[in-house]
């Protein structure tokens, strides 16, 4: 296997930024690849978790944020649970996503971050998720208007989805949380 690594050019490398966000020490990784073996999407991605760990450790730059795993990772945490060195690999993936949003990486324009934005937008507005509003917002963001429309009649008939949002949450506190945690580029806009 060959890996191409563009070294981080800035003083404060990507590895350091991930370390600060995730609080992990990647130097102890000895590439046993248990994280890749247990990864539910490991077989389909170009860069499985062990490769991400290695590239980070070798001083990769921001191009790592464009790796397919960054947003296909299902956050199942199997990697963290099985790492023999106790590295929280899932926390590294979270850190890469936070950085991808902050730095405006191309990968941050995909369907998963768009869904997250629609989801958090609904939480920010109502204090709780409002599925119908969130789905509509996601469809507008991705132009996927016809997706899963076959499910709606049955979901509505079975009342498996709420028609109206809830207004019972402490919205003031939730709005305050969103306002104070908004990062410069903002993943929650």
């Amino acid at each position: 296997m060959t890996m191409r690594i563009t070294k981080e050019k800035t003083e404060r490398g990507l590895l350091q930024q991930v370390k600060e966000l995730a609080g992990v020490d990647l130097r102890v990784c000895f590439q046993c690849k248990k994280c890749s073996s247990g990864c539910p999407v490991g077989d389909w991605v170009e860069s499985p978790p062990a490769q991400i760990m290695r590239r980070l450790h070798l001083g990769a730059g921001d191009e790592l944020l464009e790796s397919d795993l960054v947003w296909v990772c299902v956050s199942c945490q199997t990697c963290s649970a099985r790492c023999p060195m106790g590295i929280d690999v899932a926390a590294v993936m979270d850190a890469l996503r936070t950085l991808a949003l902050e730095k405006g990486a191309d990968s941050a324009r995909g369907t998963v971050p768009k869904f997250n934005r629609a989801f958090l937008g609904s939480v920010r507005r109502y204090g709780r998720t409002y599925d119908m509003g969130m789905i509509a917002s996601y469809k507008f963001r991705t132009f996927s208007f016809m997706k899963d429309t076959d499910k709606f009649p049955q979901m509505l008939k079975k009342r498996k989805i709420a028609l109206l949002p809830s207004f019972k949450a402490d919205r003031k506190t939730v709005k305050r949380i969103f306002k104070t945690t908004q990062r410069p580029k903002g993943g929650q806009k």
Binding site: C76, D88, D94, R97, V112, F115, K160, T173, F178
Partner: protein
């Protein structure tokens, strides 16, 4: 026994069945669940994939409410349970994060409110010995594949919930109810969780593998305890049939629905009519009427 109950947003929408069956079972077993006034979303997967402070502050705001009531916080949704418990873990272990969370909420939270899952309450507080005499119907040899998914058991150091690779909480309950819990290898596999809408292709492949294994093991149904697992495994069976031609017709039931039926509660009080794949076979086997 009185606990603060965090229903989670899905309890008002796609997991009303989980919510209703949890309340019905709690009522039958004498567990008093009180919803904290003004509870808000835990942030779920979207928050921790976006920002670590947001991911800790949203659950912390809710845990403060339970703290004010002087009660432990119990969740029925595996995802909420995971986020609430993770927030506690991070706030206790990271003083800088605790300060950021304080600034975000406007109040300090020390991470001390105890977070429980409803199943833990059943096992640790009520106890199987107290549930047994309350059972009015038997699962009569119904074969159940117990599916735990990711969020109840991982990461093990934070969740401390049963064995992370081979949990038996659900299996023990199924056996207690007279059912047959199956030995199968997908107990803690991932269904694709929050990618349901954004990467449906991934979810279809992952759920297909889980359903195929359950069918091979001879399951009559799959028992779950997470709203994302339930919706993905139940609703995507149609898509799997469309893309692969494989049909499973496996009902995906919440463990609280099975327990509710065995406690003699009527199917409509447990939201069983909401399942996409109807659990007719199980209801018949139990001698209940829908």
């Amino acid at each position: 026994m009185k606990l603060a109950y965090y229903p989670g947003c899905s309890a008002e929408s796609t997991a009303r069945d989980m919510h209703r069956s949890t309340l019905a079972v709690a009522g039958a077993l004498g567990i008093k669940l009180v919803e904290p006034q003004g509870w808000s979303c835990c942030g779920a997967t979207a928050a921790h994939q976006t920002d670590p402070v947001l991911a800790a502050a949203l659950p912390a705001a809710n845990l403060l409410l339970a703290g004010d009531m002087g009660l432990d916080m119990v969740a029925s949704c595996a995802a909420c349970y995971n986020r609430l418990k993770s927030a506690n873990h991070h706030i206790v272990n990271d003083p800088a994060l605790r300060r950021q969370v304080r600034d975000a909420i406007g109040r300090d939270y020390d991470g001390s409110v105890r977070v429980r899952h409803f199943l833990e309450v059943l096992f640790e507080d009520v106890g199987l010995d107290a549930i047994r005499p309350a059972l009015q119907r038997s699962l009569s040899e119904v074969k159940v594949a117990c599916y735990y998914g990711c969020l109840l058991v991982r990461p093990p150091g934070v969740m401390n919930f049963d064995d992370p690779e081979n949990p038996t909480f659900l299996d023990d309950l199924v056996e207690l109810m007279g059912g047959k819990s199956l030995d199968w290898p997908c107990k803690v596999d991932c269904c694709g969780g929050g990618l349901a809408m954004s990467r449906t292709d991934v979810v279809v492949q992952l759920t297909d593998a889980i359903l195929a294994m359950a069918q091979k093991a001879g399951a009559d149904c799959i028992a779950v305890s997470c709203p994302m697992c339930q919706v993905n495994l139940d609703m995507r069976q149609k898509d799997i049939a469309k893309t692969t031609g494989r049909r499973y017709d496996l009902p995906i039931v919440y463990i609280t629905q099975l327990l509710g039926l065995c406690l003699g509660i009527a199917p409509e009080e447990l939201g069983l009519e909401k399942l996409f794949v109807p659990p007719t076979k199980i209801i018949d086997a139990l001698g209940a009427e829908m």
